[in-house]
């Protein structure tokens, strides 16, 4: 994979990431803000849930990014374990805080949504429980990666944890198929959407918007981690002198 190797060079990565970060970040903010505005004002209410359905424009992208964040951790960890590119370990660590925050947003908005529609803030059904587990796994990963870095570890242990944690992703995805759940089945699949077009389109804006925002935050975090490594390396050199 010569193409990937080229990007694994931190200097070359920084050269691309530096101008790309604000573009992704601000494009994401603008798209998500427009999507949220449209979802609040320009779409019809649901026939059954009335106005409370509008929370889906935040809830669905948050759920997607909560899971996409862990996919990023798992893939980067796998690349790190096999090819030992330091940048892959940094990418995995950088995905974790943003993914955890979006998983939390998904849980919180879901709880607020569940109260008026289902009549409960929380139930231990398959979908809700597996998503809560993913949130806790994020916290564990963040703690583990930090402890490993603090003790000068090579990042192999958090990488193994990142790969193993991906077992939760199909569980969350198929929880509503495998088990009776209070959460409804999936609305949007490869074959189409069960959300009427007149209500669906702002979700495209918030979905893409939050995703670009997420990518911008991950790039920021990666640059911060690289800078931190540089500082630590320089301090070590100075101390050795």
């Amino acid at each position: 994979m010569p193409a990937l190797h080229a990007f694994a060079n931190p200097a070359r990565f920084l050269k691309i990431a530096r101008p790309l970060t604000p573009v992704l970040f601000w494009a994401g903010v603008v798209l998500a803000a427009f999507g949220a505005f449209a979802g609040l004002t320009l779409t019809p209410p649901d026939y059954l849930q009335k106005e409370s359905v509008r929370i889906l424009y935040i809830h669905v992208p948050a759920a997607w990014l909560g899971m996409a964040g862990w996919s990023g951790i798992a893939l980067s960890s796998l690349v790190y374990l096999v090819w030992r590119h330091p940048l892959a370990a940094i990418a995995a660590r950088a995905c974790a805080p943003a993914g955890a925050v979006f998983a939390a947003i998904c849980l919180i908005t879901g709880s607020i949504w569940g109260r008026p529609t289902w009549g409960t803030w929380w139930e231990w059904d398959g979908r809700l429980t597996s998503m809560l587990l993913l949130f806790f796994v994020y916290l564990a990963y963040i703690a583990l990666a930090r402890a490993d870095a603090d003790r000068g570890g090579d990042g192999r242990v958090p990488a193994l944890f990142g790969v193993a944690g991906s077992v939760l992703l199909p569980v969350i995805r198929y929880s509503v198929v495998w088990w009776n759940t209070l959460h409804q089945g999936q609305s949007i699949g490869l074959t189409g959407s069960k959300i009427d077009g007149s209500m669906l389109w702002p979700l495209g804006f918030t979905g893409i918007g939050f995703t670009l925002f997420f990518a911008g935050v991950v790039l920021m975090r990666m640059r911060a981690l690289l800078a931190q490594q540089k500082v630590e390396a320089r301090m070590k050199r100075m101390a050795a002198r």
Partner: protein, 146 residues
């Protein structure tokens, strides 16, 4: 033949992923019934009722089955999954989305005669979202599949 360490690690990592996924799937298939959030009427039909403990019963509220008692707070209705039905009684405030032809999860206990006494009702909706003016056309042809 020499195997590059890189390729050896790739094979090991992929085997590890396969093992973790396999273990997860095995554990989940063993969980299958225990992890269900509720019993459907067909699950308890012709089987021993889970008496004496709190369980949940889920399904659709059968059309025309809701009867409100004279005291104003007790409601009787039938839960169906298309294969079996269970009569349910509930005393309390019903959720806004509780209506005939809509999904419901009742928390409570089975009675020895096969009926169900609920002490809490949760509304379950399906994965379709549409504006009110379309609902008249589509929602009437509701199926029991959720």
């Amino acid at each position: 033949m020499m195997v590059k360490p890189k390729h050896q690690r790739l094979v090991l990592a992929l085997l590890g992923v396969a093992a973790v996924v396999g273990a997860g799937l095995l554990a989940l298939s063993a969980l299958q019934d225990q992890a269900a959030f509720f019993y459907a009427p067909a699950d308890v039909k012709g089987q021993e009722l889970p008496l004496g403990r709190a369980v949940r019963l889920g399904g659709m509220v059968a059309g025309g089955s809701i009867q409100r008692a004279a005291d104003g707070v007790t409601v009787h209705f039938t839960v169906t999954d298309g294969k079996a039905t269970v009569p349910v009684s509930f005393r309390g405030v019903t959720p806004d989305l509780f209506k005939e032809g809509s999904g419901v999860v009742a928390e409570g206990k089975f009675n020895p005669d096969g009926s169900f006494t609920a002490d809490n009702l949760l509304a379950k909706h399906d994965e379709r979202y549409m504006p009110p003016q379309m609902a008249g056309k589509m929602y009437k042809t509701d199926s029991l599949k959720q």
